[in-house]
C-alpha cells in the first residue's frame, strides 16, 4: 500500500495528533541540539560546557529559553513597525512547515488506525522543502531591512545573495536523486533505497547537498549573514526577547529539516542503519524496519548529520564572502550540471532496450566529444617568473625577495629632532 493512500484516510484527530507530535519533536530536538552543540564545542575547545542545570546540564537550554522569554522586547526607533514584527514569524513558520513532508517512519498503527509516520505525502514533496526554505529567507532579509540600521542590512543582503546561489546547487543535487528514485515524493525516495542507499550510488550529489545544506542554513563556516566578528549579529542584531527566540528556533529547526532531508534522500530515511550492507547482512533483523523502530533509526541518522554541523562549526573558520560565492557558482553549480549529465547517460543506458553495439558507440562518441572539448579549453598563461607575485593567492604574502629594511640606528632624541623639518624646529625656538 502506498504511503499517500495510507495517509489519505487519516481522520482529523489523527492529523492533529501528528501535527502536535511533529511540533514537539522539533522543539525538543532544538532544545537538545542547543545543549549538544554547547557541550560538543566545549569538548572540542577543552572545556566542559554547560553542566549546572539538570543532569549533565541538559536543562540549560530550557532555562535559557525561559530567560529569553522574560527579557524586554525592544523595537528601535527607526525600525519599520509591521515588517519588524512580521520577520521572525515569517522565518519560523516555513521552518516548521517543511518538516511535514519528511517521512519519520513506515506503516504503524496509531489508536487502532493504520497510518504512516508522516504528516503529508505530496507527489512534489522535495519541492515543498525547497519552497519552505526559500520562504524562510524572507524572514532574514526583512528582519535586516526593517531594523533600520546598517549592520543588519548588510547581513540581510549577504543572506539574500547566499541563499539564491546555494539554493541552485541544492536543487541540482536533488535532481540526480529524483532520477534514480523516479519520484519527487519523499516516501517513494525512501522506499527506493531499500537495498541501495544513494550516498554511495550518487556520491557527488551527496557531497554537493552536504555543502549547500550548510550554506542554506547560515551555519558556520558559511554564517556570513550573522558573522559576529564582522556584523555584530547580522540580521538579528536589533532583535531581543521572544522575537530573537523565534529566529533561534527557526535556525535550529532548519538544521533539523535539512538533516532530515539528507537522511531521507541519501541515507535510506527510516530504514535500519545496516540496511544497505551486502551479502544479506541488511536482513539480519527482519523486524527492524517495521512498527515504531524506524522512528529511532531516522532520529539517530538525523543526529549524525546534526553532529556534523557542530563538528564543522568547531573546526572551520568562516569563509570570506568572495570565496563563498566562488565556491557556489564556480564549483558546485558546474560540477553538479556535468554530474547530472553523466547520471542521465547512465540511466538511459540502464533503462532502454539498447544493443551493446549502440551503447559502445554512444560511449565512444561521448568520450570523443569530451576529449575534443578539452582541447578547446585554453591553456593557463605561463607565469612570468621574472615578476615576483605577492598577491597571486587568496591571501597577500610578502614576496620571497623582500628586502627587510635595516633597523634604524638608535638615535639620541636631541640629534634626531635637530634634523627634523620646520614644525619641530620652530618648536625648538620657543
Amino acid at each position: 500500500m502506498k504511503t499517500a493512500d495510507l495517509l489519505a484516510d487519516d481522520p482529523i484527530w489523527l492529523i492533529i495528533i501528528k501535527v502536535v507530535g511533529i511540533f514537539v519533536y522539533l522543539v525538543v530536538f532544538t532544545l537538545f541540539m542547543i545543549w549538544l552543540e554547547r557541550r560538543v564545542v566545549g569538548r572540542m575547545q577543552h572545556r566542559p560546557g554547560p553542566n549546572r542545570v539538570g543532569p549533565f546540564g541538559l536543562l540549560q537550554s530550557l532555562a535559557d529559553g525561559l530567560k529569553l522569554a522574560f527579557k524586554e522586547d525592544i523595537r528601535p526607533v527607526l525600525a519599520d513597525k509591521w515588517v519588524f514584527f512580521l520577520a521572525p514569524v515569517v522565518s519560523a513558520v516555513p521552518a516548521l512547515l517543511a518538516f511535514s513532508v519528511i517521512p519519520l517512519g513506515g506503516e504503524v498503527t496509531m489508536f487502532g488506525e493504520r497510518t504512516a509516520l508522516q504528516l503529508a505525502d505530496l507527489p512534489v514533496g522535495l519541492l515543498v522543502v525547497l519552497a519552505c526554505s526559500s520562504l524562510g529567507v524572507y524572514g532574514i532579509v526583512l528582519a535586516g531591512w526593517a531594523s533600520g540600521s546598517p549592520y543588519p542590512l548588510l547581513g540581510a543582503l549577504r543572506s539574500a545573495a547566499q541563499v539564491i546561489s546555494y539554493e541552485i546547487a541544492m536543487g541540482l543535487s536533488i535532481v540526480a536523486v529524483v532520477m534514480y528514485s523516479g519520484s519527487m515524493s519523499t516516501s517513494d525516495i525512501v522506499l527506493a533505497q531499500k537495498d541501495n542507499w544513494f550516498f554511495y550510488l550518487l556520491p557527488l550529489s551527496f557531497l554537493i547537498y552536504l555543502v549547500s545544506m550548510v550554506g542554506e542554513t547560515n551555519r558556520a563556516p558559511f554564517d556570513l549573514a550573522e558573522a559576529e566578528s564582522e556584523l555584530v549579529g547580522g540580521f538579528h542584531t536589533e532583535y531581543s526577547s521572544l522575537k530573537f527566540a523565534l529566529f533561534f528556533l527557526a535556525e535550529y529547526i532548519n538544521m533539523v529539516t535539512v538533516s532530515g532531508l539528507a537522511t531521507t534522500m541519501f541515507f535510506g530515511g527510516w530504514y535500519a542503519p545496516w540496511r544497505f550492507l551486502p551479502f544479506g547482512l541488511g536482513e539480519v533483523w527482519a523486524g527492524a524496519d517495521t512498527g515504531w523502530w524506524p522512528l529511532l533509526w531516522f532520529t539517530l541518522k538525523t543526529l549524525g548529520f546534526l553532529f556534523l554541523f557542530i563538528w564543522l562549526r568547531g573546526t572551520l573558520p568562516r569563509f570570506r564572502y568572495d570565496q563563498f560565492m566562488k565556491l557556489g557558482w564556480k564549483v558546485l553549480v558546474p560540477v553538479s550540471l556535468v554530474w547530472i549529465l553523466g547520471v542521465t547517460a547512465v540511466r538511459v543506458m540502464q533503462r532502454e532496450e539498447l544493443s551493446t553495439t549502440f551503447k559502445l558507440v554512444a560511449v565512444l562518441i561521448g568520450v570523443t566529444v569530451i576529449v575534443l572539448i578539452s582541447f578547446l579549453i585554453p591553456d593557463r598563461p605561463e607565469r612570468d617568473t621574472t615578476i615576483v607575485r605577492t598577491a597571486g593567492s587568496d591571501y597577500p604574502l610578502p614576496p620571497p625577495d623582500l628586502r627587510v629594511p635595516a633597523a634604524p640606528k638608535r638615535r639620541l632624541a636631541a640629534a634626531a629632532t635637530a634634523k627634523l623639518p620646520s614644525a619641530t624646529k620652530e618648536d625648538g625656538d620657543v
Binding site: 519599520d80 515588517v83 505530496l122 507527489p123 512534489v124 519541492l127 515543498v128 525547497l130 519552497a131 526559500s134 520562504l135 529567507v137 524572507y138 532579509v141 526583512l142 535586516g144 531591512w145 533600520g148 542590512l153 540581510a156 543582503l157 539574500a160 545573495a161 541563499v163 539564491i164 539554493e167 523516479g182 519527487m184 607575485r389 605577492t390 598577491a391 597577500p396 610578502p398 614576496p399 623582500l402 629594511p405 634604524p408 638608535r410 638615535r411 632624541a413 636631541a414 634626531a416 629632532t417 635637530a418 627634523l420 623639518p421 620646520s422 614644525a423 619641530t424 620652530e426 618648536d427 625648538g428 625656538d429 620657543v430
Partner: protein, 277 residues
C-alpha cells in the same frame, strides 16, 4: 490573475465541492488584497511584500486546482527567487526612497491609460470566453494517468513543447550573458573610482620601502590631531608621521588649535628639552 478567472469558470460551470469554493474565495480575496496593497503602498518594500502575498495565494490556488508542481514552482521561482532579487535591489536603493510624482516621460500617462484599457479589454474578453464557451474538465484524469502530475508535465515539456522550452532557455541565457558582459570590467575599462586595484596596491606596497601602513599618532600622544607626530621606540619623532601640509605651512598661518602643543616632546626627558631650547 487569469488563473483566478479560470477557477471562477469552474465554480460556475461544474459541480464544485464546498472545500474548493471556500478555498477559492479565501485565496482570491487574499490575492486581490495583495494586488491592491501593492498598488497603494507608499514604501517600495511594502509594495514588494504585498506582491509576495499575491504570488503565494496564486501558488496555493494552483495546488488546490490539482497542479501541485506548478504551485510549488510558482512559490520557489517567483516568490523565492525573483521577488528576492527585487527586494535585494530595493534594499540597495535605500529604505527612505519612495516614488517620485514628477512625470519624466512625456505622454506617459496617456500611453499608460491606452495600454491599460487595452489590457482590461483583453482580460474581460478572456473572462467572458471562459465563462461561456470553455467547458472545464479538471486535471483529475490526466493526473491519474502516466506517472502522475510531475511526470506528465515533464513529458509534455520535453516532447510537444520542446521548442518553446528551448527558446525560453536561450532567451534567459542571452539575458544572463548580456548582464555579465555589462557588469564585467577588465583592467583597461576600469571604473573611474578605482585608480588602482587592491591587488596592485598590495604589490606596490610590498615592493616599496614600507609594507606596513604609515605610523599614526604615537601611543603616548596627548592629542589625536594630525599635528601630533608618532614616536619611535627611542622616543624620537617618526618623520613619516608628520603631515606634509602642516609642516610646510608657516606657523603664523596655522589655527592655534592645530599647533603641536603639547607635542611629543613633552614625553622626552626634561634635561634633553632644556638642552634644546
Amino acid at each position: 490573475m487569469s488563473s483566478v478567472f479560470v477557477t471562477q469558470a469552474v465554480v460556475d460551470a461544474g459541480p464544485v465541492s464546498m472545500g474548493e469554493q471556500v478555498a477559492f474565495y479565501v485565496l482570491g480575496t487574499g490575492s486581490l488584497i495583495g494586488a491592491l496593497g501593492m498598488l497603494f503602498a507608499r514604501n517600495a518594500v511594502h509594495s514588494a511584500l504585498w506582491l509576495v502575498l499575491t504570488m503565494l495565494n496564486l501558488g496555493v490556488l494552483y495546488m488546490v486546482g490539482q497542479a501541485p508542481f506548478l504551485g510549488f514552482v510558482q512559490i520557489i521561482v517567483y516568490t523565492g527567487a525573483i521577488m528576492m532579487l527585487f527586494l535585494f535591489v530595493l534594499m540597495m536603493v535605500g529604505r527612505e526612497s519612495s516614488d517620485s510624482v514628477v512625470e519624466v516621460l512625456r505622454g506617459q500617462r496617456l500611453a499608460a491609460g491606452v495600454i491599460g484599457l487595452g489590457f482590461a479589454g483583453l482580460l474581460v474578453a478572456a473572462l467572458v470566453r471562459s465563462l461561456t464557451q470553455v467547458k472545464p474538465i479538471g486535471l483529475a484524469q490526466p493526473n491519474a494517468q502516466g506517472g502522475g502530475n510531475v511526470a506528465n508535465v515533464g513529458k509534455l515539456i520535453f516532447t510537444d513543447y520542446l521548442f518553446a522550452f528551448e527558446l525560453t532557455s536561450a532567451l534567459l541565457i542571452t539575458a544572463a550573458i548580456g548582464a555579465m558582459v555589462l557588469a564585467f570590467n577588465e583592467k583597461r575599462r576600469r571604473p573611474a573610482y578605482a585608480k588602482s586595484l587592491q591587488q596592485e596596491l598590495v604589490e606596490a606596497r610590498f615592493q616599496g620601502n614600507r609594507p606596513s601602513p604609515l605610523p599614526g599618532p604615537g601611543v603616548f600622544a596627548t592629542a589625536n590631531s594630525v599635528a601630533t607626530p608618532a614616536l619611535l621606540p627611542d622616543g624620537s619623532v617618526a618623520p613619516e608621521s608628520l603631515s606634509e601640509v602642516i609642516e610646510s605651512t608657516a606657523r603664523e598661518r596655522l589655527d592655534p588649535d592645530l599647533l603641536p602643543e603639547p607635542d611629543a616632546h613633552a614625553l622626552t626627558a626634561p634635561e634633553q628639552r632644556e638642552g634644546e631650547s
